[in-house]
């Protein structure tokens, strides 16, 4: 199979401080296809990596408008068009009474948008990943910190990249196959 193919280099760090400065140096070295891995979100590490802000809020905003709009449309169409029924002499389209459900549907659509939008942006679920081949990587969800640089990055070089990762403070560097 493709066991010959290299996924990239994986470097291990012991503390958030050493990972943080390493990320800044990898970013400054001009790598693009790389990532860092932590057991918990490290404050501002995304900035140290030079990542752009998440576009998720925009997606959720659009979903919110859709939810509120769909709620209003649903209630208007069912109450005033499809089955007009006069209750207590109130107007057929009494929008004030429709506000709670519009609000609830807006929240529902936003929440679904936030969760599934996040899954989409993160390409999750992805049950297999090359990094899971590394035994040391299992501690990424416990107490270790990692930087992975993919072999497809144009600046990647089997020897130089490993050397660089050691230089920026990695306690252990290994090559991971795909």
């Amino acid at each position: 199979m493709a066991s010959e193919k290299l996924y990239g280099a994986l470097a291990e760090f012991d503390t958030t401080a050493s990972l943080f400065s390493a990320c800044e140096q990898i970013r400054d070295a001009g790598f693009k296809k790389w990532d860092s891995h932590t057991p918990f979100p490290v404050h501002n590490l995304d900035k140290a990596m030079g990542l752009p802000a998440s576009i998720l809020p925009w997606l959720v905003f659009v979903m919110g408008l859709t939810g509120a709009g769909a709620g209003l449309l649903l209630q208007w169409w069912t109450s005033a068009v499809n089955y007009p029924l006069v209750i207590s002499g109130k107007p057929l389209f009494s929008w004030q009474a429709f506000v709670p459900i519009c609000f609830e549907l807006m929240v529902l659509f936003c929440a679904l948008g936030a969760v599934f939008g996040m899954f989409h942006l993160n390409r999750l679920p992805q049950l297999y990943h090359s990094l899971f081949r590394s035994e040391r990587f299992a501690r990424v969800t416990d107490d270790k910190f990692f930087i992975s640089i993919e072999a497809v990055d144009p600046k990647f070089d089997k020897l130089d990249t490993v050397e660089l990762l050691k230089k920026v403070g990695a306690t252990h560097v290994e090559l991971v196959e795909e």
Binding site: T38, S54, V60, L74, K90, E104, A114
Partner: protein
Amino acid sequence: MADHSDAVTRDAQIQWDDPVDRRVPLTLGIKSFNELTEIVCRPVEWQTPKHWWRVFLFALTGLGILVASTAYLFWEGVGVWGLNNPVSWGWAITNFVFWVGIGHAGTLISAILFLFRQKWRTSINRFAEAMTIFAVMCALLFPTIHVGRVWAIYYTLPIPNQMGMWPQFRSPLLWDVFAVSIYGTVSILFWYVGLIPDLATVRDRAKTRIRKIVYGIFALGWRGSTRHWLHYERAYLLLAALATPLVLSVHSVVSFDFATSQLPGWHTTIFPPYFVAGAIYSGFGMVITLMVIARKLFGLERVMTMRHFDNMAKITLLTGSIVGYAYSVEFFTAWYSANPYESFAFVNRALGPYAWAYWIMVTCNVVVPQVFWLKKARQSLVVLFIVSIFVNIGMWFERFVIVVTLHRDFLPSSWDYYSPTIFDVAAFVGSFGLFFTMFCLFVRFLPMVAISEVKAVLPQANPHAAHGEVSEGGH
């Protein structure tokens, strides 16, 4: 175990009296990230202890009572309950409001305190959110089985049908269907998103293949990537920002069920804020009850510290006082309105046939929690536990008092006294069975504490702490 707890208590005492900070740290004596992982994962990974089985079987018995009594209810109809002509809501709606209220503390801890950057919430939010979800499940049960013809419950949803009929969107009862079911859905989403990194932790520690596969599937292949955390944290923040107005709206809508009717004692504008405060109050009562037990059984004293209980007791005191204020304002408004029906409803509450329920409510909700003004009381697990039981009882009675306001309506000829039957009691007891069954499964199979969130607030999580100064893009 006892020595360990004593050490924890001593530890807390020493740090509490720290003259500089005057604050107990968020966790006690947790020196490394791994130590926290071990503490939290232990109940998920150990061999199922005997006491778990005992509690679980007890809870299952309750669930059995629920299933049996509900089956009989479906077979025979709601006539098996003690409902009568003036009191047509009875225990079922009391239980509904009781359970949905309990859920609110979980959302307050997970969402509102998150927006307020209350870092202490991280130790208890997973636990409280689980309580929310199970409480909402119990809550949804009661209106569902109360409708009588339960096989027609889908009428409450806007599903196109052969009759061309639609739900009545102007009815608060329908708002309730949307509000509570969406609340349940959003709570589950929020909870699951928070669980993903911790499920990955359990996956990576798994010793057996089956655990690796099952936890692996639910962890979605999480690998702690910063590119993922970026979107993840944003999603979490958005969910918190959405859950905050949602939770306020849910109990407001529940209160509309009462407030929009034209009955004296129900038709008041104070209901939404009063219900929301009561909901948070009752929920904190339940969180304290459950947490006192769980932290002892599962050895979480160093994660769920006395500081957490102290804070929760203060919130209980605050919301309990708001509830007490609402009780008195109701009386004032009844008198000030100069409406004889309104005045009668309230005098009847305090002095009528249900005065016993009213005074149980006032004692449990207004009088008892006042002990939390004393720091000694907030620091004593025994006092916390006893008061929290009083809060649970008192808040159930609050809803009961509100519902049985129905027993004396405008026409004295239709006045009646409502008493529950054995089937009312069975449904209520059974709902606790459902709740505790779910809770037992939760504490056995899922990490009870949000591991990744607590790690993020440990001092060593700060990448700049070692440097002593903040570099570019710092805090």
